[in-house]
């Protein structure tokens, strides 16, 4: 099978999302579509998948012109898409999800699950995609859910698979599995389009790399002809430093000390089980771990957004267990929340208003109960310039900013205050190379100015780039603490998957285990 996009342009009112894009992928080939967020990768694929209609240009399947007015047409033509956010029904089992819309029946509308399951299992054997057909989706790990999505596409006889940022949600081990699956699909003659903004995996998986910038193809290359640095430059359009330059840390006294913390999630399930650690001034302690191992709830409990079941938190000499966000703010704790759109900002408010979300009651932004709008505006204009937030105006709604600029806005708000402790949760999730580099440099700068930094990340690259010490969290516990110097990607990756060191540690590590660093 050969899929070809010829001269595709997609215009939205006021924006050109794709301009004259040519792209060809043949059976048995992996084409990586590389680009920053907002470069137009997803738009292009939505055109191919029939979700959008191209303003100009054509799609050819095996040199035949094709017209897709809906995903149903694209699926019928043999194109399958695995979206970044899975389109599965959580309470259905694997078979039900796979056969949804294509139900096998045995007369009178009765479902024939056995027949479907037979076909599913043969597909799964063929491509090494192990799944349990009767398992319910919501009980499955994310990596397995993704396999179900791939199977769903194969079940519909897809010959061309579009994988939209498939590695964003996976652990290092799961990524390895996925690469194996992609290899097997390729060997079976499928055409694969792999969307990503991560350079390492693109170099590893792709046969051909197509780089998009601002909706245009800026280069086509192969892994053997290029390297990370060159790809990054192509993607961003200027030279970027991939690694932040950072001097060894000179840790001071402990700023934050967490002792035997227990926290429950919204369903009253205990998700943090006796976690202890400390963060010193002038060091970055990174909590590594696959998403959903209690990091989110741990940080929420530390920042006063969730109840602490038991345990102790001290900031300097003061007990701040269960302190409110306002109290912590007054004690110079800054917090970059994990979900910037849900927690960090109010999309409908202007950028200026968002920048004073935690200081609106202080001078000069208000006097008594009266807000001073011109002071708010003035400060916003300055911060927009200082932090290079790209926006037409401080009055624009925050929701109009790109992800990277939203994050810069939050960083601007949090970093303009004196800081003892900075808590940063997934500070660069979903951001492009340029923004990541910028945010990383700012975090290191905060450390160098004397703040203790608690970084939570599920990106191994980010952990390795920033951390002075690494605490790995798995299933609600800290399963190991490593000095950056002793940490390798393999070691951290193993710990993230829950494999402990040869010398087993007790489930609740003793207090102040970071003393040695």
């Amino acid at each position: 099978m050969k899929v070809e996009l010829r001269g595709v342009t997609k215009r939205f009112p006021g924006v050109v999302a794709n301009r004259d894009v040519n792209l060809t992928v043949s059976g048995g080939e992996v084409v990586a579509l590389l680009g920053e967020n907002g470069a137009g990768k997803s738009t292009l694929m939505n055109v191919l998948f029939g979700l959008y209609e191209a303003t100009e240009g054509e799609i050819y399947i095996d040199d035949q012109k094709a017209e897709f007015s809906s995903p149903a047409d694209a699926i019928a033509a043999g194109i399958g898409m695995v979206h970044q956010h899975f389109m599965l029904i959580p309470v259905f089992n694997v078979i039900e999800n796979v056969m949804l819309g294509l139900e096998e029946t045995k007369g009178m509308g009765r479902l024939d699950e056995d027949k479907a399951s037979e076909r599913l299992l043969s597909l799964s054997r063929e491509h090494g995609l192990q799944v349990e057909p009767y398992a319910v989706i919501e009980d499955l790990p994310v990596g397995v859910q993704q396999r179900v999505e791939i199977l769903k596409a194969l079940y519909r006889n897809a010959d061309c698979l579009i994988l939209d940022e498939p590695t964003a949600v996976l652990t290092p081990d799961e990524i390895r599995d996925l690469i194996g699956v992609i290899q097997s699909l390729k060997d079976a003659g499928k055409a694969i389009i792999f969307i990503s903004h991560k350079l390492k995996e693109v170099l590893e998986i792709a046969d051909q790399i197509v780089v998009l910038r601002r909706g245009e193809v800026v280069g086509t290359t192969t892994p053997s002809e290029t390297n990370e640095q060159e790809l990054a430059t192509m993607m961003v359009g200027r030279d970027v430093q991939l690694e932040v330059s950072k001097t060894p840390s000179e840790p001071g006294t402990a700023v934050l000390r967490v002792t035997d913390m227990h926290v429950r999630d919204d369903r009253e399930v205990k998700v943090v089980n006796g976690v202890s650690f400390e963060v010193k001034a002038k060091e970055i302690l990174a909590i590594a771990g696959v998403q959903g191992n209690g990091q989110t709830q741990l940080i929420e409990a530390l920042t006063g957004l969730r109840k602490v079941e038991s345990g102790n938190v001290t900031l300097g000499d003061e007990d701040v267990t269960g302190a409110s966000p306002a109290t912590l703010f007054k004690m110079d704790v800054a917090h970059i929340p994990e979900d910037r759109q849900a927690d960090g900002m109010i999309g409908a408010f202007s950028i200026a208003d968002n920048l004073v979300l935690n200081t609106y009651r202080e001078r000069p932004f208000s006097k008594g109960i009266l807000t001073d709008r011109s002071a708010i505006q003035r400060s916003a204009t300055k911060l927009i310039e200082d932090f290079d937030i790209r926006t037409p105006s401080a009055r624009s709604p925050a929701s109009t900013l790109s992800g990277g600029n939203q994050q810069k806005m939050i960083v601007a708000r949090e970093f303009t205050h004196a800081q003892r402790l900075l808590i940063a949760s997934q500070p660069t999730r979903g951001l492009d190379v340029g923004s990541i580099q910028y945010i990383h440099a700012r975090i290191v700068a905060q450390r160098d100015e004397g703040a203790g930094v608690l970084l939570v990340s599920s990106e191994l690259d980010e952990i390795m780039a920033l951390a002075d010490r690494i605490a790995v969290m798995c299933a609600g516990e800290i399963v190991g603490v490593l000095d950056r110097a002793d940490a390798t990607r393999e070691k951290v990756g193993r710990l993230m998957a829950g494999v402990r060191d040869e010398a087993p540690r007790p489930p609740s590590p003793p207090v102040a285990e970071g003393e040695g660093s």
């Binding site: 306002a326 900002m345 408010f349 609106y360 709604p397």
Partner: protein, 374 residues
């Protein structure tokens, strides 16, 4: 502004169709449409235009009509502001009726209890008591939501019916019951507590409209110029982000419901002291319209002022329409319902009139939609 205006146009158009097809004579003309198409069309035009002209005459056509429009606008405006304020803080206040009744009780009680107070003290005192009673009634659902997470839609609806029965109960007490009467009717407010007429004795329009307009301005000022309003709007637009930024979401819910209750209580008080003069059983009839007003006015004080003048005019004009044409008064209810239906379905209105969605409009829609989701 655009969508509500277009919704009004669409509603008047559909309303005209209803008028045409409920008029027996016009219907007969349509039955013989093929024989005489001109007659069917001209009768239809006459039926609809006469009804609407009468409606307009009855609402803006004379000093009396204008006075009646404002009389109807006053409580609608205050109650609409209450719902709008709650909306802004992310709360759906369906408790207007209950809070109005609380305002009735508070104001009538002060109104008939003192007979030697000068009006300058008596009127504000009675109004204030009504507002305080309303605030107290609003505090309950706010507190329940903040402390237990009980959804305010449920609790405010329930509290409406509780208050309905509280009214029946107070009307059994000797303190309230009119002397010499056994049926549930309270003593009348004293003259010193009545809201003064502002356009002469013959016209019913009273000082309440001034109070309501001043409160509308005050609400705008609080929402958009003070730290309290900033907090309200933050909690309403994104409670999670507000909590993260250190605002007390629970406290804001309680405070916002109390303020909303105070406004509806005040609506009840102006109606009591300006028009009603005594307490009797039953709902006031404008607490539910207030929800529609807030929706129509996009929870903006200016929008709510315009929306309540519109609804006030519809109510005032309805009587004239019924008296001078054969159109039943219920048609007004149909038109009001149509306006709301069209406002609630902005996509439909846009499709009809082929207008694009502007970003600023998307926000307020989000706020309204969100109150249901919580």
């Amino acid at each position: 502004m655009l969508v509500p205006t277009l919704a009004l146009v669409a509603a008047l158009f559909v309303g005209a169709l209803v008028i045409i097809f409920t008029d027996p004579e016009t219907l007969r003309a349509w039955a013989s449409f093929t024989a005489n198409p001109g007659r069917a069309l001209s009768l239809s035009w006459d039926a609809a235009s006469e009804a609407y002209i009468a409606l307009f005459r009855g609402s803006f056509g004379s000093r009396y009509a204008l006075s009646e429009t404002l009389v109807n606008t006053t409580p609608l405006l205050l109650a609409g502001l209450s719902v709008g304020l709650a909306f802004r803080a992310g709360l759906f206040n369906i408790g207007g009726e209950g809070q109005i009744l609380a305002g009735f009780i508070g104001s009538v009680m002060v109104g008939f209890s003192f007979d030697s107070l000068p009006a300058i003290i008596h009127v504000p005192f009675a109004l204030l008591t009504g507002a305080v009673f309303g605030a107290a009634w609003g505090f309950i659902p706010g507190f329940l939501k903040a402390k237990t997470g009980a959804h305010e839609v449920i609790s405010t609806i329930m509290l409406n019916f509780i208050m309905l029965n509280v009214v029946l109960w107070v009307l059994k007490t000797e303190f309230f019951l009119r002397i010499g009467r056994n049926d549930p009717i309270s003593k009348s407010v004293n003259e010193s507590a009545e809201l003064p007429k502002i356009a002469g004795e013959g016209l019913r329009v009273h000082l309440g409209i001034m109070v309501a307009l001043a409160v509308a301005w005050l609400m705008w000022w609080i929402l958009f110029r003070t730290t309290i309003g900033f907090r309200f709007r933050s909690v309403g637009a994104n409670p999670k982000a507000a909590a993260y930024a250190g605002m007390s979401v629970a406290g804001t819910y309680i405070f916002a419901m109390m303020m909303a209750g105070a406004l509806t209580g005040l609506a009840g008080a102006t109606q009591m002291l300006g028009i009603k003069k005594f307490l009797s059983p039953g709902f006031s009839g404008f607490g539910f319209d207030a929800i529609a007003l807030a929706l129509l006015g996009k929870s903006h004080p200016g929008g709510i002022v315009l929306a309540s003048i519109l609804f006030g005019a519809l109510r005032a004009g309805a009587l004239t329409m019924q008296a001078s044409t054969s159109t039943p008064i219920d048609i007004i209810v149909v038109i009001q319902a149509l306006i709301i239906a069209f406002v609630a379905a902005p996509t439909l209105v846009r499709a009809i009139f082929r207008v694009k969605l502007r970003r600023s409009e998307r926000e307020t829609e989000g706020v309204l939609a969100k109150t249901w989701g919580s």
